[in-house]
């Protein structure tokens, strides 16, 4: 590459308009050629850039340190521990939500439970209420009359108790077995 071309590239380079490829060409040129005095500073600059790229992290034991730190984080970050920490927050959030919803419920519900008087005369209203209550209790009584048939069931149970007498009868029957023994005695003596 001739000097003229290099100087054009340098101007482009200083305006920030060179492509990566053109910059590589500049690096190559200044890295491999002796240059005239007026370009000497560029040579220094480019050799600085190339040398900078060789700077390395002093990584003796670096990877191990990182991997160890990572391993520690892994083991302390169990899902159980995480949910445990989350629990009080969830509890607080839930109680706040309940308080808010109860509050909102009563705020919106409150005015709706307001009853309006349907009777102007208080005594008439009392009489009407009494009439309705009597009606309800009367119906209740006829319902409970029907329930008395259930008491009949008790009588049935009493009758059934007589079956227990069967047991004593059976015991008496056992005495018959004595008859059998005597019969055996008689036959063996023969």
């Amino acid at each position: 590459m001739n000097l003229q071309k290099i100087e054009i590239l340098i101007r482009k380079y200083e305006s920030g308009e060179t492509s990566m490829e053109e910059e590589r060409a500049l690096h190559d040129f200044f890295g491999n050629n002796e240059v005239p005095v007026h370009l000497a500073n560029y040579k220094k600059m480019f050799s600085f850039f190339s040398a900078s790229k060789n700077e390395m992290l002093n990584d003796e034991g670096f990877d191990e340190r990182i991997m160890e730190a990572i391993g520690k984080e892994e083991s302390t970050k169990s899902p159980r521990g995480k949910s445990y920490r989350l629990f009080p927050i969830l509890g607080i959030a839930a109680s706040i939500l309940i308080l808010i919803s109860v509050g909102v419920y009563f705020q919106t519900r409150g005015p709706q439970i307001h009853f309006e008087d349907t009777y102007d005369n208080q005594e008439l209203a009392y009489a009407e209420t009494k009439k309705i209550l009597m009606l309800v209790s009367g119906n209740m009584n006829t319902g409970s009359d029907e329930l008395q048939n259930v008491a009949e069931l008790e009588n049935g149970f009493r009758e059934l108790k007589k079956i227990s007498n069967l047991k004593s009868g059976m015991k008496n029957m056992e005495k018959l077995s004595v008859l059998n023994k005597t019969k055996n005695l008689i036959t063996t003596k023969k």
């Binding site: 308009e17 500073n41 600085f48 992290l57 991997m67 990572i70 984080e73 892994e74």
Partner: protein, 171 residues
């Protein structure tokens, strides 16, 4: 992402992160700490790493932010100057040679550039990043980057001219 793939795919970017952090902080020890912190942050985000089009660019962004935080936090600390000076004279591959001298001189000039320009010239001229990649890392527009890169290059050239003319005059 498993620890093994993390070690194979993500850890090797450490040297690039270190150079970038060191360029910003001018202190190898702090730069190393920042790189370590960057990896821990990457690991904590390991489940989302696939969403980034370039893990390297994302890692560089984390490093950049950590460095800027660090610089902000110790802006008023008196020991910064001494730390910086240490950083500029040590850790060069060519110690006690003429080339080392040149290296340190240019380094000094680059490191005297404003932070943003320093980051851009480093990513472009040292690491060879495309403009889009630099835009990704620094979260800036390509145009801003081009303008700042041009400023950084011109300023470096001017400062070198001054520094070396002074040396000529001295001799």
């Amino acid at each position: 992402m498993t620890a093994e793939t993390f070690q194979i795919e993500v850890l090797p970017v450490k040297h690039k992160l270190f150079r970038f952090a060191n360029r910003l902080l001018c202190n190898t020890e702090n730069a190393e700490d920042i790189v370590q912190e960057t990896f821990l942050r990457l690991w904590s985000k390991r489940d989302n790493l696939k969403e980034y089009k370039s893990i390297e660019a994302f890692a560089m962004t984390i490093t950049k932010n950590l460095c800027l935080d660090k610089l902000k936090s110790k802006k008023h600390k008196s020991d910064e100057l001494t730390e910086r000076n240490q950083g500029t004279t040590m850790d060069t591959p060519y110690k006690y040679t003429e080339r080392a001298d040149t290296f340190n001189k240019v380094k000094e000039i680059i490191d005297s550039l404003p932070g943003q320009q320093r980051m851009i010239i480093h990513l472009r001229d040292v690491e060879g990043y495309e403009f889009e990649e630099i835009a990704d890392v620094l979260e800036m527009s390509v145009n801003t980057i081009r303008v700042n890169l041009s400023r950084a290059r011109k300023k470096t050239r001017e400062k070198m001219l001054k520094a070396y003319n002074y040396e000529f005059a001295k001799n």
